[in-house]
Amino acid sequence: MSGLIKSSIARKVVMALSGLFLVVFLTQHFTINVTSVIDPETFNAWSHFMGYNPLVQFVLQPILIAGVVIHFVMGFALEIQNKKARGGSYVKYKGGANAPWVSRNMIYSGLVVLAFLVLHFYDFWVHEMAYKYIEVSPEDPTRYYHETVEKFEPFWRTILYVVAFVLLSLHLWHGFASSFQSMGWNNKYTPAVKTFTKLFSVVIPLGFAFIALYHHLNPITQ
């Protein structure tokens, strides 16, 4: 078993499975967020459910955090291993001649997404934990919409979010389809998986960026 954990292929599979899990989470996150543009009441209802449902809070949320941690810790470990494997750099290395930029720079797009996650956790998760467990404020199923919109009032935050979504798009562009290859799944359906990957990696981050910009441009006026 220890041999399996150290094995290069097992590590690839860990990256693939945690990555796919995060793709599923992104889809769910986007589905709820998009309701903030369509119908604030639905957004409030879903947000309240997610914030107070014990299964979501005490089972799914820790699994999600574990998924994120595993993905980036394994990503860093593999990056270090891969850098060591070159054993010195080429004087001239034409990486662009044989592999797309996004596939060669997953560590950088991943690092930007990770930095964004720190800000995002501070913005919403830390605030939520403080509201519920430190301040022990009463349940208010109507607060989520205006709290979210208020977050996007500052221009700098909106821009940081949009930049992170662009890098998320690049990360997904390579990572999503790549995870199937890592798990040994390369067959007649692979072209369809690659097409879906391109659609997903544009539509979802673009949608997130649209939501951030929409709330920035449509502040709550009282």
């Binding site: 054993g87 001649a97 044989n98 592999a99 890592s182 040994g184």
Partner: protein, 267 residues
């Protein structure tokens, strides 16, 4: 082909009949423990129909005639089938051409006045022996770890041709077996991963009934040896497939991953 003593129109598009002056930047390294460096050479009179290795032969003749140490490089068949030649040429293994080895790369692919950077394949698992020669015996150890089948030679051997194999599998096994083990996949990969090589050697047996008997141990042992040699991990950039002179496909890596996961589940 010359028409009235001049190149015809077709040939004018190539550099066959133009002698070139090239500026070479070549990695020189005395031995594995010495630091290496790029040394500049200027070579005149290079013809387009010379192979890349013939160009280096000319350079070496000039160096020897001047009493200088020739540039060491690997070569054997010079027919693109043995996998001995290597070289990172202008940042790409086996140079800018596709589906050819360095020995089959012709100087017509370059232009008069070009600067060409020539380095050894670089990987921790491929230590430099001298100049442009690297030690690729790590590949041999991976092969020895499981790249074989056991055949009964007691006189009751079943003729391989007597075992029915569907054409698709036979073709894929043959495609995988065309890997010549040159190491271009490792040289091209940003992670110096040997997964294309190892997967080709796993696949050529995994697809055939003769290879199934030792399939579980084979993939586990070969992957373990690959990891022990210090190669990097595949991140599916696809650089190896593009640079492979034999066009070995990434589907082989997916197959190896499947074989490995299935072998691990079987214990």
């Amino acid at each position: 082909m010359l028409v009235d003593g001049k190149p015809n129109n077709e040939q004018q598009t190539t550099n066959n009949y133009i002698t070139m002056k090239l500026y070479l930047k070549i990695w020189r390294q005395k031995d594995a423990s010495s630091p290496g460096k790029i040394v500049d050479y200027t070579l005149d009179g290079v013809e387009g129909d010379m192979s890349f290795l013939e160009m280096l032969d000319i350079l070496n003749e000039e160096l020897v005639s001047k009493g200088e140490e020739p540039v060491e490089f690997d070569h054997d068949c010079r027919e693109g089938i043995c996998g001995t030649c290597s070289l990172q040429i202008n940042g790409e293994p086996h140079g800018p051409d596709r589906l050819v080895t360095t020995c089959q790369l012709h100087m017509r692919k370059f232009n008069d006045g070009d600067t060409i950077v020539i380095e050894p394949f670089k990987a921790k698992a491929f230590p430099v022996i001298k100049d442009l020669i690297v030690d690729r015996s790590a590949f041999e150890r991976i092969q020895q770890a499981g790249g074989y089948i056991s055949v009964n030679t007691s006189g009751n051997t079943v003729d391989a041709n007597a075992i029915p194999i569907n054409k698709h599998d036979a073709d894929e096994a043959m495609d995988a077996a065309t890997c010549i083990g040159c190491g271009a996949c490792v040289a091209a990969c940003k992670n110096a991963s040997a997964m294309l090589f190892t997967s080709a050697k796993v696949s050529q047996f995994a697809l055939l009934p003769q290879g199934r008997i030792e399939a579980v141990e084979r993939v586990q042992n070969m992957v373990r040896q690959m990891d022990l040699e210090g190669f990097g991990n595949c991140t599916n950039t696809g650089a190896c497939e593009v640079e492979c002179p034999k066009g070995i496909s990434l589907t082989n890596i997916a197959r190896m991953n499947r074989e490995y996961l299935s072998a691990s589940l079987k214990g």
